[in-house]
């Protein structure tokens, strides 16, 4: 299967196979008016299988969200058919308004205008805790 190279846009590569739908949804790529290609289960020497998303337009994307979902993703910025910048992601130190605290005793459960904020406490095990109640972040986004 052939998916054309893009002249200008963003390529999200090395997405863990199966994660592209979540990234697509959380970045709101369905709302774009440009071409967006999602390639699933592509062969990868390094990963075995991987997903790729190609976005045919330069847009602002929240790297923290992608870093939280899948820190191994590489983000390439394409201009005139060439990669002009490649960003390696890492787990962000804090994540805001991406996941919601599930603790019914947390102040965020009754004061809806508070930002949902989590802090990375254990990089190795990818553990985030709510800055208010210290509950561990849920595994899934909102």
């Amino acid at each position: 299967m052939i998916v054309d190279q893009i002249e200008e846009g963003i390529v999200l590569d090395h997405i863990t196979a199966g994660n592209s739908n979540q990234i697509y949804n959380v970045l709101g790529l369905d709302k774009l008016d440009c071409t967006v290609a999602t390639i699933q289960n592509a062969d990868s020497v390094k990963m075995g299988k991987k997903d790729i998303i190609k976005i045919g337009k330069l847009i602002d994307i929240d790297l923290d969200i992608i870093g939280y979902i899948d820190p191994g993703v590489t983000v390439s910025i394409i201009k005139d058919g060439k990669i002009v910048e490649r960003k390696k992601l890492a787990l962000p130190e804090t994540i805001k308004d991406i996941i919601k605290c599930k603790n019914p005793r947390c102040i965020t459960s009754c004061e809806q205008e508070l930002r949902q904020e989590f802090k990375l406490v254990d990089r190795e095990n990818k553990i985030y805790r709510c800055i208010y109640c210290e509950s561990q972040a849920p595994k899934h986004i909102k």
């Binding site: 102040i107 004061e111 406490v121 208010y132 561990q136």
Partner: protein, 305 residues
């Protein structure tokens, strides 16, 4: 801004200094009688409390200051739906320092953002209660002469007991500490406290269910109440509330040098007959709490005496 939300915000040196101040207050109360003259403490208690609120108020009065506030959410504008941020922003216009209790975890942290004056967490749900830990620490210091080489038994509700979590964190910084965690299966210390605090500091610990079998090894026994207000299910509360009751018979199994602490209020987890035992320290703990709150108010208001 100076605030106290979590006991771990205080370094070991800062705790030493607070204890030093508290001991000086005990020896020389007259020296501190006007230390906070003209200052006001607001006690914002969105959840009922007897001891903590009165302790803060007594502390401020004994420092020569004044007190204002409320003692239940339904007597504040929270009942009208006002946010914590707005309430404390308003109160910050009237008071020099705020002590706040709230049933929701993290509410005092929210308060620090808008109060404009120091905020003390006087208990937020099952999360933190740092000034109770200060009371516990002064009691341990006065009973044991220091914080090192102690086997500490914590008994009862170790899951929701915020005082237990704070005390474990605070004591984990001293040498030669061992924890014996005595609770029913359903009320064990949360895993993150075990991994992030106890194991991270390489502190020996045991998780056990029998109080009797473990009494002989303890230097300190920290009893806790199974708190009805932390349960969503009444049946679970009723099933677990009487798991441990400390009686004179069980006290016979303890060392002569044992110190029994309890954050109070007790329901029936310590028999009244234990009160006359010289090893029962829980009412001394109440008094120590007032002295430590006085020391803390002085520190946060940056009052030198």
């Amino acid at each position: 801004m100076n605030n106290l939300i979590d006991i771990m915000q205080l370094s070991v040196e800062e705790i030493d200094k607070l204890i030093e101040t508290a001991l000086d207050i005990i020896d020389n109360p007259e020296k501190y009688a006007e230390a906070c003259h003209g200052k006001k403490l607001a006690t914002l208690f969105f959840e009922p409390s007897t001891r903590t609120r009165l302790s803060f108020e007594a502390a401020m009065y004994e420092l020569g200051g004044n007190v204002l506030g409320f003692s239940a959410a339904n007597s504040s504008s929270a009942a009208k739906g006002e946010s914590v941020a707005d309430t404390v922003r308003t109160v910050g216009c009237y008071a020099d320092i705020i002590a706040m209790r709230h049933p929701k975890e993290g509410a005092p942290l929210v308060a620090t953002r808008t109060a404009g004056v120091p905020v003390i967490n006087a208990g937020d749900g099952g999360h933190n209660h740092p000034t109770q830990t200060l009371a516990d620490l002064l009691t341990i210091y006065r009973e044991k002469g220091g914080f090192e080489n102690l086997t500490i038994g914590l008994c009862g509700d170790l899951k929701f007991g915020r005082t237990v979590h704070s005390l474990i964190s605070a004591m984990s910084r001293y040498k030669g500490i061992k924890f014996v965690l005595i609770s029913p299966e359903e009320l064990k210390v949360p895993k993150y406290i075990i991994s992030d605090v106890i194991e991270k500091n390489n502190i020996p610990y045991e998780e056990v269910t029998s109080l009797e079998e473990n009494m002989p090894k303890l230097d300190i026994l920290y009893m806790t109440r199974v708190q009805r207000e932390r349960f969503f299910n009444e049946a679970d509360y009723l099933r677990l509330k009487d798991t441990y009751v400390l009686t004179p018979d069980k006290m016979k199994l303890g060392k002569d040098s044992l110190s029994v602490l309890h954050p109070l209020p007790r329901v029936n987890e310590i028999s009244v007959a234990v009160d006359d035992d010289p090893r029962a320290c829980y009412f001394k703990q109440v008094l120590n709490g007032k002295y430590m709150r006085m020391a803390l108010i002085l520190k946060l208001l940056e009052v030198e005496v």
